[in-house]
Structures are given as C-alpha cells and as structure tokens.
C-alpha cells in the first residue's frame, strides 16, 4: 500500500526531515511532493492526487490553520488525510483542528515509529492509497 504524500512547511530542512522519517518508518510512499507555503499547498491539493498531507502550523503567509479552513470551504478536507506536524501541541490546538477535519497530530521532533503508528491510525483500512 503506497501513499501519495505532500509535505507542507516553510522550512526546507523540515520537509527533508519528513521525507527521511517517512523512509525510516517503512511507510510505503509512491509519490512525495513538497510545498513551502500554505498557498502553494492549497493549489496542489485543489489539483488532487494526494492521500496524506503533513502540514506545519506556523508558516509565513497562509498558516496551517488557514490552510485547513480553506480546504474545509472547498469541501476537500475529507478527500485527503491531514496530519499536523508542529512543536506546539496544546490540547486546545489539537481539539480545534480535529473538529475541523484534521486526522492526526505529530509533535516535533519526528520519530519514525510514532509516524508509522500515526499513518496506520489515520489512513486505516478504509482509505485506499492511490499508488
């Protein structure tokens, strides 16, 4: 089962870390794309083709919160699994984001085993990969 993944973070280093951690986790990835801003991610997600998105919250320009809101408005939030990757894991943040359709939350620093468990959890058997 291979997934089509989009990593959204203004930091190129974090996008590289997500790619590396995915590889180490053993999660099967058929396609890995990157977006350096919420705006760029929204354009790519409107074009479709992604199973799973790892998204930062605090980005210049469109933040992760705003990207989630935009995906809700577009009716796209249920078509892709959004996982927030952030260093700020407050209960209020996590609850608010889940209520908007976010599937999971990973706190930085990333660890391969935690990422694998979360991907298994949020993708489940009902979400067929595109790969």
């Amino acid at each position: 089962m291979a997934y089509s993944v989009l990593a959204v973070d203004d930091s190129a280093t974090v996008r590289a870390i997500i790619a590396k951690t995915l590889k180490l986790s053993g999660v099967d990835v058929s396609r890995f794309d990157e977006a350096s801003s919420g705006d760029e991610a929204l354009r790519m997600l409107r074009d479709g083709g992604f199973d799973l998105v790892f998204c930062d919250l605090n980005m210049p320009g469109m933040t992760g919160y705003e990207l989630v809101e935009a995906l809700r408005r577009d009716g796209l939030i249920d078509s892709v699994a959004i996982v927030i990757v952030s260093s700020l894991g407050t209960d209020a943040d996590i609850e608010a984001l889940r209520s908007k359709g976010v599937r999971g939350y990973l706190r930085k620093p990333l660890r391969p085993e935690k990422l694998r468990l979360l991907v298994n959890d949020v993708m489940g058997a009902s979400h067929e990969p595109r790969g």
Binding site: I17, N58, S87, L88, T90, D91
Partner: protein, 158 residues
C-alpha cells in the same frame, strides 16, 4: 532567571537538542564558553496567548552546520549542509519555543508561536549577549551556545 525556571529551561533545551539534532550541551559559565570561530547567528521567536515570552539561541555558523547535518542525517561535508544551516537553526528554535511554551503554560493553555527569525550576531552583539545575566551558556561539541528564555505568566488572556 528564576532558579526553578532555569532548571526546567535547561532540561527542555537539552532534550530538544538531543532529540532533534543528536547534540548534547553542557552548561558552563560565560567565562568557560568555548572560543567562537567564524560568524554567528541568532535565531529567535516570540510566543503569545496565555503566556508571553520569547526565546533566542545564538550559535556559531559551524555549529549550525552540524545541526543541519545531524537533522538531515548526512555527512557535515555534504554539499546541501551550508544551505540548510540557517534553516535548521531556526527549526531548532521553533521546536524549542513550542516545548518551552507548553512546559510553562501547560498543554491545556492557549499558546501561539510566531515563525522564527534569524539575524547575524556581530562580535559586540555576541559579547553583550554572552555577559547578560539572563543568558544561559553551553558548550556543545566544542562550540559555544548562548540561550535566552523569557516569559511572563501574566501574559495576554486571549
């Protein structure tokens, strides 16, 4: 810095550097800091909400490159390391800010982080930061590290 806050800040600082960049720092006095070679950078970010504050981390460029190499899992001589050094330092500051804010405000608090900023630290600025009583000093892989953490629990209530 309040001693209890200082102990917690030291713990978070050490954990984040170890977990994120596989680097380990020893607290030292300003006079015991390793000699700084080359240019230095300061990564900082404010946080707000139910706790107001900021963090700042000053490191020489050589250590920023080590941070980048370790986080990317590549050799320090890898050609991508110089371009990623400043980015990696800002990310350490961001992770540090998030962990410190939730450590002191609690995971149930409403806290917001701003994106980190980076600026060069010239010799006078490095020296002012080094001797400031609020600065915590570390020796890390033979490099000096300057760390400031300031917060106010009576911060904004929104």
């Amino acid at each position: 810095m309040n001693p209890a806050v200082s102990v917690e800040a030291l713990r978070v600082f050490s954990e984040v550097f170890a977990d994120f960049a596989f680097l380990f720092g020893d607290p030292v006095s300003p006079d015991e800091l390793p000699r700084r070679d080359g240019p230095a950078w300061l990564a900082s970010l404010p946080f707000g909400g139910q706790i107001l504050g900021s963090i700042a981390i000053g490191v020489p460029e050589g250590l920023a490159r080590e941070i980048a190499a370790n986080t990317l899992g590549v050799d320090p001589a890898d050609p991508q390391v110089p371009d990623k050094a400043s980015d990696a330092l800002m990310e350490v500051a961001s992770v540090m800010g998030g962990h410190l804010a939730t450590t002191f405000a609690g995971t149930g608090a409403d806290v917001t982080l701003s994106p980190p900023e980076l600026r060069p630290l010239d010799d006078p600025a490095w020296e002012r930061l080094r001797i400031d009583a609020a600065t915590l000093c570390f020796a890390m892989n033979g490099h000096p590290v300057l760390f400031r953490f300031e917060f106010n629990r009576e911060g904004a209530s929104t």
